[in-house]
Symmetry: D2
Subunit: 343 residues, 4 copies
């Protein structure tokens, strides 16, 4: 197979490239440069110094050429950009894995409200298949790859919601993320002297992953009320920890929790449910794992779930490869790292 | 005044020493070495390299000599150690500021359960005055200085609880702390290669500040139910962020929240209530401030409070000096830094 | 005294403000906003969130008003900006402490070459007094405050060069700095995801502190040859470590080295020469100290000096206050922190 | 092939395990527990939480069983331990890759002096082949895998020394390392609150990699004098930067330097010589690359080389796999990551 990547110079594009170079089914990776308006040709090794032996041209972006020369396309382009590009691929039913947020929400108005950008058309949105890999089988050739916070949160909540174990208005998610989640663009909040030795709550009640999470939760249980979802920037480069709190519907035990989580994840290669204790972020960084632990506090009658992922792997490019594997009916874990990295 | 410090080589002892050197009422600081069983004399500059021009002897610990030579004593000794030392001072009603957790809880059994150590006697405990500086006036000469997490959490919750604005069983605190909170002792969780680029939930539902927080909350409103309180270690040296969630009792507005917080803090020199937005940790590190911001999410019907402190200043030694100031009827902010440090 | 600060929103301006609020001789600090071209009035607390209780106006910049209302002026403005502003103060012989690099070099051509900016005039440059506080007494009312790297390096080299202990062509300085040294401006190299977990050599053989160092070294010994000076950015916010290597002229011993360093620093309040061992950066951060240690390797016949400072204190605003103290004939350490901060 | 690993729970053992799971020639990895004196059986997933799905037993250490069941053995055991275990493998000429420092030095006295431990016998030492992979072809079945600092330094110096381009008494190496280089053992210098926001020069003129470097340099040019070699601990987990200074013998140009480096590395898969500029540490972390850049300063007549590696990959386990590949005559880069990780 030949794979096209648009947006390789961003963080998720870069990680995607790394993963694809190790994928046994990918013979060649072709890079396309959407952002470049000039005639100057760019090369991968000049953009990403860590890739200094990858002297690969970023080709001029051309949808027809991309479809002619490749078997699958990955969009690692920013929200607001991707939706401008999707039409030719949807028309031809060409396999696309879209890492941006543009095609995740079915409701165009909702998109415009949360993303403050022009939405794709309702027709276009209807053709995208939301690819939470552990739960959703592709229903079309266009996969909307989930957001990083949404992945960690939904995998942590799924068993509770599907099994209707928690009070529908009780869910609170205190999610923490590394700085790479905000992308490569320079910003005051990613300046080292600001975020180092700091923690910073941002986009208060306005994070664009909230409607994405709610859309999926309501598919699982339409009675679920809007969750409280808070995002805190941490002084780390990679990783997300979603700490989830909820009140149980009835008598809750650790045994019941364990049973519920194992029911959904026992056969999933990338979700590791802890027998006891809680995972930390470095358990999963540089891997495609989502590790999930839980505790129940009888005193406060509160379930706590801790779900951790690498925002750039399981929360972006790793899940994208996983979705490609599913779309092409390969084993779900083909070409993805088997073990985490430590230290 | 002359001030005695026992436990100067620990983190809070060290910061306390720094603060006392800048305090206009303190003419001399005398250091006492409780831990040293040997005959070798230790000097401050040999223990703390940052203090290399402070060639000050750590005197042999002797309660009678301490009382003879000083006007006030600070215990910066570990929990379990302090309680063994308190009796002579209580008997003589000698002024003590105790930074350890040993004398904070009135209930000796509760202490033993949460601290896994032998408690002080009920008589001794009864003589200690829990010194949450913004709310409690010393009722005795023995001040039990609050814990770091307890300070950030109680200051964030006080207006809500005193004004009975929140449902009594709805409080969830997701608190994050820097590594200095765990002290100088070597531990796997404070090894750089573990906690760097990581976040780590520890002492799940078992942190010893939970009963301390509950004891004070129940004084404010005896109907308050046990809160959910979670502690996450962050890769920073100093600072605590307590993110507090609660459901309002009745219609909640930002105006009401602001009114409640200003009611209690308008005249407090070390609590800064934000007009809008939320504070980050570096707003307060190296200062004695507690900065508090709030938000209300109508969709999820959740109040969110963010309360930040420097765990070693407002959460330990700064509040200890503040308590000394109160005990000796000086202005509350005497000798404490006026502005935060940035960057 | 009243002190004017121009450029308070930059890192060194911010730290300067903190220091001046604690200075016993400064009754009032007046802030002036040079950069603001608009009519909108700015306030300190809105610019620096850590200063949220400092609701102080940034006044319109006006040289005449500044001189009328103040006793001393601090420029914390960028290189290239300051030189445009100096003339009125030089004419009136008004006391100025200039933290920028604009007036440090006596040679205007040399300035233009290394700073890539237009230099002040030769007349203006002649009126500035280079204020390496431990060695230079003000010869005019205009103090050019030394650069951060220059301070650490010169204090580390001074005894060796003044005593002619090293071969004149053998000096190599491997200097490391925290990110705050590069200022608040957004740049790829201060993005958290770049410099975290990294080390980065920059401005190779082109750092603008090289001519500043050479100018002073040649005053001490005109035979000194151009040193090798390398700057490496470290993932820390504050602090500089200058590791200095040189070959001794004749038989070198630790005793001789110690004697030389103590000769120059024994009565200097802010230089701490180590009896043994080498200092680390945190020994001095948040203080005005420069700690210096040394070692001699007989095998390689190499002297190694390690000199550490806080780039924003001793390397900028702390030394600026020290220079103000000297200019106004106060004790050199007036208003400056007595002890370092730890941890 | 089946591979045995002794010492899997240390940092280099852990990384080695990760690499071996991805190696196409390794069918099975067998783990042996040398340190465990008790009867309790340990499992990999219980020791390393990041490996929580690797429920693999640590077998009792038994040299005969190891040789019977495996084709190659990796020692990831500490210095002082390995030498006690080597004899059976040397006797049987069994393939061993030894990551410890015990068998690198040919001179037993020198080992004892620098390691402060009992050396292996001269006979044993004679049978080991020092495996600087780019330069040394295995001369026996026992490969002494180079140290991390030695690898970065030797690869940076090799062309200069082999081509006799630098003055033999002029080499100074200012090397910086992440904390993982000091291993998992708890120590004051790896406590987060110490090394975070710090830089720390350690083992001044006493680092045990100095004789290892000198031994190899003298093979390349016996006239080389003892280098100055300084090690500075940085607040990063992984990575080494060796900044190397030397004076050229005769007229030096960038062209000559480039020619010399390309001569030795043009066909080496894991050394990337930069056409211009200098590498930073994150260019190579999580890869087996050594990136080398250089500059020449005509003013100071100093060559500067910057050589960066991941201390746990190219500086330990990655080079160990590379050496296994060479020993078994596979392509040198078999099973090793093709591209670096970023960010």
């Amino acid at each position: 197979m030949q794979a096209a990547v648009v947006g390789v110079t961003g963080y998720s594009g870069t990680v995607l490239y790394q993963l694809l170079t190790q994928h046994p089914a990918i013979e060649q990776i072709n890079l396309y440069d959407h952002a470049n308006g000039s005639d100057t040709v760019r090369y991968l090794d000049e953009e990403i110094s860590a890739f200094r032996n990858q002297h690969i041209i970023l080709r001029r972006y051309d949808a027809a050429a991309i479809m002619a020369d490749n078997d699958v396309l990955f969009f690692a382009t920013p929200a607001g950009v991707t939706s401008q590009l999707v039409q030719p691929y949807l028309e031809k039913n060409f396999p696309v894995i879209d890492l941006s947020g543009d095609m995740r929400l079915k409701d165009a108005k909702c998109y415009a409200k949360w993303y403050h950008k022009k939405a794709a058309t309702v027709d276009q949105l209807a053709k995208a298949s939301y690819g939470l890999a552990e739960f959703n089988t592709p229903t079309s050739n266009y996969i909307a790859n989930p957001g990083c916070y949404a992945t960690a949160t939904l995998l942590g909540l799924a068993p509770l919601v599907l099994e209707k174990m928690v009070q529908v208005d009780s869910i609170i998610v205190d999610a923490k993320s590394g700085v790479s989640g905000a992308g490569k663009k320079l910003a005051a909040s990613s300046h080292y002297a600001f975020i180092n030795e700091n923690a910073y709550v941002y986009k208060v009640n306005q994070h664009q992953h909230i409607p994405e999470i709610m859309q999926q939760l309501k598919i699982w249980d339409e009675k679920i009320k809007t969750i409280q979802f808070t995002t805190t920037l941490l002084p780390i480069t990679r990783g997300i920890m979603a700490t989830i709190y909820a009140k149980p519907k009835q008598d809750c035990t650790l045994e019941n929790l364990k049973k519920a989580f194992n029911k959904y994840y026992v056969d999933k290669p990338f979700v590791r449910v802890l027998d006891e204790g809680l995972p930390n972020i470095k358990d999963v960084t540089y891997s495609n794992y989502c590790d999930i632990g839980f505790a129940y506090n009888e005193e406060s009658q509160t379930i706590m779930i801790v779900s951790v992922i690498d925002n750039l792997l399981k929360g972006a490019s790793g899940q994208a490869v996983q979705n490609m594997n599913k779309l092409f009916e390969m084993a779900e874990n083909t070409g993805l790292p088997v073990v985490s990295m430590w230290p």
